[in-house]
């Protein structure tokens, strides 16, 4: 079972991994550090999505909306009022959570499930994108650009390794939060809703409040991620931060790794983020643009057909089979 306290060996393994990750930048090249930042960042977003999509079984295909709201509000607060992104990201997270509450409040109140909920999330993300594209105060189609000052108080760092540690912290934090949710009453209710919503309701679970709590938490965490995105890339374009491709990027990692498990999103990001980066670099030669996404698509099809529960359950089974004392 994935629930319950980790065995002591799992705890050791986790601690050892964290220790290695903390020490790693000392020996990595700058480019390898960048790849790890992407692994952590997408692992973080996947973990945030996991609360709602993995544990709660409510498939959101519009998580880009929360990334975008977090990114835009942090940046605008910093540009117009000089508010430090360290504080601004919390505001962004709260605003994203507010949007999550609106989407969830409307969608779950009206009993939208399955495909209908997927479309509601897509529609809200697209509305955000179109509004951002057409609002001059939000930079319109050109988007927003952040001037680089290298001031740590502005969440800007000269050294790539600072971003490494920041992204790692975010990922570990989200994993800690999800671990707490997994062990809480809410986590158990969410699993019950995912497996059979009507049965859960019949047993007295307040499914509306549980799903609402899940989407608010998920949106808050994703919004924080948006602030990191803005201050790592220094530019925001509506099509990139609010677009469906980003939402797909958020979903695909937990699904490949194993949705509804604590390790799944991280494992998925560890597999896919370097793969995306390597294929992207390798196939940027003229005439091959887009080929990496063909590989991505084939991989996605393969995962669905052959590993429908993601990679983690298989890995875990192989692990326990090897050590039957577990």
């Amino acid at each position: 079972m994935t629930r319950g306290l980790p065995t002591s060996r799992e705890a050791w393994l986790g601690a050892a991994t964290v220790a290695v990750l903390l020490a790693l930048p000392a020996v990595l090249t700058s480019y390898a550090v960048t790849v790890f930042i992407l692994i952590f960042f997408y692992g973080y977003l996947g973990q945030a999505w996991n609360v709602l999509g993995g544990y709660g079984g409510q498939l959101s295909a519009g998580h880009a909306a929360f990334v975008g709201v977090g990114a835009y509000s942090t940046t605008l607060l910093s540009m117009h009022w000089g508010l430090s992104p360290w504080i601004g990201m919390l505001v962004g997270g709260v605003l994203a959570a507010g949007l999550g509450a609106i989407i969830g409040g409307l969608g779950f109140r009206f009993g939208l499930r399955g495909f209908y909920f997927v479309l509601l999330t897509v529609a809200f993300a697209e509305v955000c994108r179109i509004v951002a594209l057409n609002t001059d105060a939000l930079g319109g189609a050109l988007g927003l650009y952040i001037t680089f000052t290298g001031d740590p108080w502005q969440l800007q760092f000269q050294d790539n390794r600072a971003y490494y540690y920041l992204a790692l912290t975010l990922m570990l934090l989200a994993t800690g939060v999800v671990a707490l949710v997994e062990r809480s009453r809410l986590g158990a209710y969410l699993l019950a809703i995912r497996e059979d919503e009507d049965a859960a309701e019949a047993l007295g679970v307040d499914t509306f409040r549980c799903k609402l709590a899940a989407i608010v938490l998920s949106a808050f965490l994703t919004g924080l991620g948006g602030a990191f995105y803005a201050n790592y890339l220094f530019s925001l374009q509506p099509n990139a931060v609010f677009g469906i491709p980003l939402s797909v990027d958020v979903i695909i990692r937990p699904v490949v790794g194993g949705a509804g498990t604590l390790v799944g999103p991280l494992l998925g990001s560890l597999i896919l983020s370097p793969l995306a980066e390597v294929t992207r670099i390798y196939f940027t030669r003229p005439g091959w643009a887009g080929f990496h996404l063909v590989i991505y698509g084939v991989l996605l099809i393969g995962i669905v057909l052959f590993l429908p529960r993601g990679a983690y359950p298989h890995l875990r089974r192989a692990w326990t089979r090897r050590r039957p004392d577990a």
Partner: protein
């Protein structure tokens, strides 16, 4: 507000609506029969456009005739996707089906990108230049032809479903797959044909649009999302709903472009979608599940 402008918006909206309807009819057929949402729908449409473009540029076939080839090619593709991929996850959870078809969409979009490059293309058609004036309102011939062909194809599909044995079997399978299996229907064959026809509809729609709008490989996602909007607005699984929804969304977008601004027109259809989802999730023509 200028009345001519509104009349112009209405006419263009209705004429373009035929293509929207045909896209949505394909999607709703696939959903109605198999309960699978085709997330690769828009990308199939883009391939319909490129087949039409290849025919026009390499062989000089006008898209007004080339749509049949696009439809045939997409029919075969649909049958292959159904038999080799979708059939295996017929009973899997919704999210798995969605992800599988997202995978197909990614492959289709980016194969087109590798094959044809990112630059927008447009098919030159002898008809596309012609226009017809009704008073102050002009009618684009390419749109008129697209509308007529789309309407004819939808009617043909309707007759097929109502009057032929295979069509009746298809409707029976949609109503109750288990019952159909019990009375000896080859359900897998029906599924393959249904997916093929759905893909053929959107392929034909793509070919019909190809002389009207410039297109590029990345257009698929937006087309998918538009098809979803229409189908939800009309009622998932309802053929008349998809047809009416296509006209409604097209007119709404066209008038939205007149009253707001061209770049805001999508906002109108998303607003419509959100309203429908909240107040009448079964759609205008949908049945209660």
């Amino acid at each position: 507000m200028d009345v001519t402008l509104i009349a112009q918006g209405l006419v263009s909206g209705i004429l373009f609506g035929g293509v929207y309807s045909l896209m949505a009819v394909g999607l709703t057929l696939i959903f109605g029969v198999m309960r699978v949402v085709n997330f690769a729908h828009g990308d199939m449409m883009v391939w319909g456009m490129y087949v039409s473009w290849l025919l026009a540029t390499r062989l000089g076939v006008d898209p007004t005739l080339g749509f049949a080839v696009s439809a045939a090619a997409l029919f075969m593709f649909g049958v292959i996707v159904q038999c080799s991929l979708v059939d295996r996850i017929q009973d899997a959870p919704h999210e798995m089906q969605i992800l599988l078809l997202l995978g197909v969409a990614l492959v289709l979009e980016n194969t087109a990108l590798v094959a044809f490059g990112p630059d927008p293309q447009r098919v030159r058609s002898s008809l596309a230049q012609a226009t017809l004036w009704i008073g102050p309102v002009f009618v684009d011939m390419a749109r008129l032809v697209a509308f007529a062909v789309a309407l004819a194809l939808t009617c043909l599909l309707w007759l097929f479903l109502q009057r032929t044995d295979l069509g009746r079997t298809m409707r029976a399978t949609a109503d109750n797959p288990y019952g159909a299996l019990v009375v000896g229907t080859d359900v897998r064959r029906v599924y393959a044909v249904a997916f093929g026809i759905g893909a053929a509809c959107v392929g034909a729609a793509g070919a019909l649009v190809s002389p009207i709008l410039p297109f590029s490989p990345s257009a698929g996602l937006a087309a998918s999302v538009t098809s979803f909007n229409i189908v939800i607005i009309g009622g998932l699984g309802s053929l008349p709903g998809a047809f009416a929804g296509g006209l409604l969304v097209s007119v709404a977008e066209s008038l939205g472009a007149v009253f707001l601004s061209p770049s805001m027109k999508e906002l109108v259809s998303f607003g419509l979608l959100i309203a429908i989802l909240l107040f009448r999730p079964t759609g205008l023509f949908g049945r209660r599940a």
